[in-house]
């Protein structure tokens, strides 16, 4: 019963967060300069009638709250309106593109974790090996994501690579810190004193106990990978959700940006929630143990 209540509370929290994020995105667009302007209005070859029609289209929106309520009602039915930038239903755009971004994010995130955790384990086992990984991490963390995207495109590396490069330094740095902190803990010192082999010490005494923190980090890094996908896809012109988010923001495409914010908020808040739940579960188990 208590678990069910907790789950319900978490779900309500998640829903409130998603709805608030969508509303804030809509409000932002409503208030932003240029929200009711169409770039085509500047075309001198456009007839006055066509220009007036564009202006009427831009000015035709009602109040913010009314818009958002109507939008959510339609969203429940799976309709998100038509994109102003692309002239097609937002739902169609989301359906066409989510796989590409999801695949990039998952591949990039997985690669970052394999490399980051692997490097951290190597560094924990052989301290002298830390130099190259630390240097690589420092270089990657110092690169503006825009520059990273251009570099990857020129080298013909996939967008997943950019995401991996953006997430790797965090994974490496935090997991290394966790492992090093665990190495100094009493149970590790005791195990070492008992003559436990170095490999066993690393995997069962250093790495295993820190998994709840690692799970929390996993949730946070998924959000980071999604965040990095926006500039990466935009600069590499990859037709994913990240590119959509970028273009819709620049073009003040209200239905599209609100839909994307809802999707991104749902995923990031969901990941954080699941990671938090897993971590607390892990914490409880460890405590009981």
């Amino acid at each position: 019963m208590r678990a069910q209540k907790g789950l319900l509370a978490a779900l309500l929290r998640w829903l409130a967060g998603v709805l608030a994020a969508g509303f804030l995105a809509a409000a932002l667009l409503y208030l932003a300069p240029g929200a009711r302007v169409d770039e085509r209005e500047l075309d001198p070859t456009l007839s006055e009638e066509a220009r007036a029609a564009l202006r009427a289209e831009g000015a035709g929106r009602g109040g913010l709250l009314g818009f958002y309520v109507d939008y959510l009602r339609a969203a429940v039915r799976g309709e998100f309106g038509d994109s102003r930038t692309y002239g097609v239903p937002v739902r169609q755009l989301l359906e066409e593109r989510w796989r590409l971004t999801a695949s990039s994010v998952l591949r990039g995130w997985s690669a970052a974790w394999v490399l980051g955790l692997g490097a951290a384990l190597l560094c924990a086992r052989w301290r002298w090996s830390a130099g190259p990984f630390t240097a690589a991490s420092a270089v990657l963390v110092s690169m503006p994501s825009g520059l990273l995207a251009i570099l990857f495109f020129v080298l013909r590396w996939p967008v997943a690579g950019i995401l991996a490069a953006a997430v790797f330094p965090r994974v490496f740095r935090y997991t290394r810190n966790l492992l090093e902190a665990a190495a100094g803990s009493p149970h590790c010192l005791a195990a070492r004193a008992r003559g436990v082999s170095r490999g066993r010490l690393l995997f069962f005494h250093q790495a295993w106990p820190v998994w709840p923190e690692a799970v929390t980090l996993a949730g946070v890094t998924i959000s980071a990978a999604i965040g990095a996908a926006i500039p990466a896809e935009a600069l590499c012109d990859v037709a994913g959700l990240g590119q959509l988010a970028w273009k819709s923001a620049l073009a003040r495409d209200l239905p599209l940006l609100v839909a994307l914010t809802l999707v991104i908020a749902a995923v990031t808040l969901g990941c954080n929630m699941l990671a938090g739940a897993a971590a607390s579960l892990g914490g409880e188990r460890r405590w009981r143990a």
Binding site: R13, A32, S142, P144, G146, L147, I150, L151, L257
Partner: protein, 267 residues
């Protein structure tokens, strides 16, 4: 010499170079030698000139001043906001705390770059380049605090469970006093770490805006606006000296990360 000291020394050298830009730079950042555009490095122009004939070395020095002065200032503001919000969320009641934590998460899931663009576009036009830059960093500060606030809240919640906090609460100390006298000093390392993380984040944020053409206003240079040139990656093979701003940024960010290491991390 500890890595932290190396980082701090590097930062000091870069600050000195930036602050003395007026003395060290052989030319003004806006001076155009229109007869010698795109010149290679020479005795007169150590890093050559840009497409408008401006001395790259001078612009790099002035850009260093711009980026290194404003990013830490913005980080101070953001860290203060984060600490205040994080600690308040931690010591408030359960519902308020949860609501604030949710607000941090919501803010983190918003398209902040767009928010930055929209706010910047609403500003008055007739402001000097320096003022415009200061506003840009101020906006970065106003938008960049939620992630640090999450960390501060988590740290404060953990601290609240510790013995000293329990004893203080048992002694009937008020929330404000608990916050200011007991929690804040205890969380100083956590907050300081956030500051050292935010400085390079803001330098990179400005650099990203520069790459998009929305950073510092011409003719004032910053590392971001200078990095914008690197989009022509193929020209770098022929003119590798163009990489100087990227190298400066790399060194600075590394120095800030090293300086931000806690003694425990170093050990």
């Amino acid at each position: 010499m500890s890595t932290r000291s190396v980082g701090l020394a590097g930062i000091c050298v870069m600050y000195a170079a930036g602050l003395l830009a007026g003395v060290l730079a052989p030319a003004g950042y806006a001076d155009q030698d229109r007869e010698h555009p795109d010149a290679p490095p020479s005795r007169a122009h150590w890093l050559g000139t840009d497409e408008l004939g401006r001395d790259r070395w001078s612009r790099l020095l002035h850009g260093t001043r711009v980026s290194l002065l404003l990013a830490p200032a913005a980080a101070v503001v953001a860290t203060a906001l984060a600490a205040a919000a994080g600690l308040t969320a931690a010591v408030s009641g359960k519902w308020t705390g949860e609501a604030m934590a949710l607000a941090f998460d919501v803010l983190l899931s918003l398209p902040l770059l767009f928010l930055l663009l929209a706010l910047r576009a609403s500003l008055p036009l007739n402001v000097s380049a320096w003022a415009s830059l200061a506003i840009t960093f101020a906006l970065l500060a106003l938008l960049g605090w939620p992630s640090a606030a999450r960390v501060a809240r988590a740290g404060a919640l953990a601290a609240l469970e510790s013995t000293f906090a329990l004893q203080a609460r048992a002694a009937g100390i008020g929330k404000l006093r608990l916050l200011a006298v007991h929690l804040l000093p205890h969380l100083r390392p956590v907050v300081a770490a956030q500051f050292w993380l935010l400085v390079p984040a803001f330098i990179l944020g400005e650099a990203n805006l520069g790459i998009l053409g929305l950073g510092v206003v011409e003719p004032l240079p910053s590392w971001g606006s200078l990095l914008g040139e690197l989009q022509n990656l193929d020209s770098l093979r022929a003119q590798p000296w163009r990489l100087a701003p990227a190298a400066a940024l790399l060194i600075a960010v590394c120095c800030f990360h090293l300086a931000g290491k806690t003694p425990a991390e170093e050990a």
